[in-house]
Amino acid sequence: MFSNAKNIIDIVKYRWVYMIVSLMLIIPSICAMGYLTMKTGSPLLVGIDFTGGTIIQYSVDKKLNNDDIAKIRADLTKAGIENPVIQVLSASSSADGEAKTNEFISVKTAFDGDKDSTKTSTVSTTIKNLYPEAELVQVSSVGPTLGKELMKNSCIAVLLAILGICAYLSLRFHVEYALIAIFTLVHDVLFVLGVFAFLGIFCNVHVDSLFITAVLTVLGFSVHDTIVVFDRVRENLKFAAKATTFNEVVDASVNQTLARSINTSITTLITLLALYFLGGVTTKDFVLAMILGIAVGTYSSIFFASVLLVFYNNIKDAKKMKSVNP
């Protein structure tokens, strides 16, 4: 059936290689998350959305250096703000037609929800004293109990989404296909989480509730990609001649869907890269998570899901052989 097909990728032949590549993607990720868990108690550095706290952002027109930041910190501490965390973000804005570089000062303090607390106004006065032209761009404040609740709800949402997908795939395919799709999805999500754990360790990147959205998108995309390959396997198995082996079917299916897999990720990555480089500064991490997820999702649908399928089938065959010739 597949005699005159020239396969671009040999999945079955190099299955161990692909397995090792996947492990090399996942194991460092798990290590980074383990390291952060030991250090901070959670596998990623989590932002105020989950821990509670207040972030106030101002835009200023001039470039800020480390001395400026130290000055801001000193003044804020003097004004009675405990342990302010100050970050400077640079962003290009194009709101008024011409591109200009804006600096954002972001001040993070404890939660400011009590009615008699005047943290936000204290911070504002202090910043305005230093930079009269500073403009308040964003305040977000989350109570500590709400943060915990959000974390819990997000975890429940992710688990339910996985269960829902699993149930649907079991209906439409076999249970083992559903399980492999879930493994693939976990592979992809672990990789994205791992990169953000590394970013947390080295660049102090914190994840927020938008990040959860990104992870859920990655999850959806991962399954999307895996399904396209599995759908082809399902179809090819149905119409394959009796003589073709399962491994041949998998190889052929992956190669038949290869152009689609790559083209789809190229088009999606184009839009995401445009968002990353031209979009707002607030969504940068969110878009980065999706870029990583879609890249790894494409890889895993080609090299991980199919390899697992082959492994699973080999084990099943071996068992069958055993039961036939004990």
């Binding site: 305040v139 709800n153 649907y168 395919f173 396209v228 179809e235 789809t264 088009t267 607030t282």
Partner: protein, 436 residues
Amino acid sequence: MKNKILLFWAIMILVVGCIIVIMTKPTKLGLDLVGGSRLVLEAQTTNTIPKITSDHMDSLKFAIENRINAIGVAETVVQKQGDKRLIIEIPDVSDPEKAKEFLGETAELEFKRPVQNFDGTEGWESTGLTGKDLRKSLVSTNSQNGEWVVSLEFNDVGTKKFAKLTQELVGQPMAIFFNGELQSAPVIQEPIIGGHAQISGGQGGFEYEQAKNMVDLLNAGALPVPAKIIEENTVGPTLGADSIANSKVAGLVGLSFVMVFMIAYYRIPGIIADIALVIYSLIVFSVFKIIPVTLTLAGIAGFILSIGMAVDANILIFERTKEELRMGRTLFTAINLGFDRAFTSIFDSNMSTIITCTILYMLGTNVVKGFALTLAIGTIVSMFSAITVTKNFMHLLFGTGQLKHPGWFGLKAEEINSAYETDETKRENAKFGILD
């Protein structure tokens, strides 16, 4: 072929309809795009109110709405969330701090009498006369020293209570507490029976702002239960405008690159896909406006992602069609087979996206909800546009017969008839094939 032409005109009418909707209906933009404050208030239980009921929440909502009207902000939305939370969205608020203070205040006015505590110290005791017994209050000035004062006018019950209380307290001080803070404690000279009273701000009097705030709060009514702000999100108008401008640029640049890629790789079908993509965007946008969906940054991200899914459907179909063409099928059959065989993939993968969106919409926070909604709408419309619009255009443009110019599909002449040889598949089987 007649059906195809009819369908083409139906699509054209739909497109015109969408353009009319887009031109006439306004887009609802979220606070993160236009700027504004979003507050989440949580009702707090107290000793007297151990459980928050939906009645409490209704009257809390009413009181908060009253207060917002008092500040005079247009288009404010107050929504109940869950059992004990209110979401308040205030666009274009000039001073978020003030709004925040104003909303969180319980506005409890209480009149208290002096009492001897058990340990011998002096204290104050509630008299049962509170802000609930007021008819109205207003800011006025003290006729003697010109200081700002708050004038109170009691309702009938309040007038009686107040008269009785002042009778009992002649020669003694009576304290006025506002939100647990002692405002003043004048000594009662004679019984007051007219139902009018004044609160002076103690020594030095009130600032005008202070008195005005108090009056606004008293007139709006006390909160039935204490409420606390547990989440605040304020976006300045410049950041919002920036985000819109940036997203527009990013969206357009991304979209045009995708279009160029599709034409470069798929040639004439690529052009059809691009047209279908434009129609897809028009339909999605008019659906957003009809529902209406409030567009947030996350919502825009969801929409951009759904563009990816829409392109994917086209890619799947074209790849399959090219395969069928390589096998030497006629154009009409190849296009039909391409669509039918790609459909299972498109359907299953989109279903899993929709399942995820449904769960996110039910459980997610507002940010996540906006994302899930736009992605789900986009995904559903993308199935329609790929299957109806792209297919119809392909049939109309290519017609029937053999493929004479393989270059139209980005194929080479020698590729034809060189592909995998597969058995003929029954279309019905391929469409919803379940692995056996």
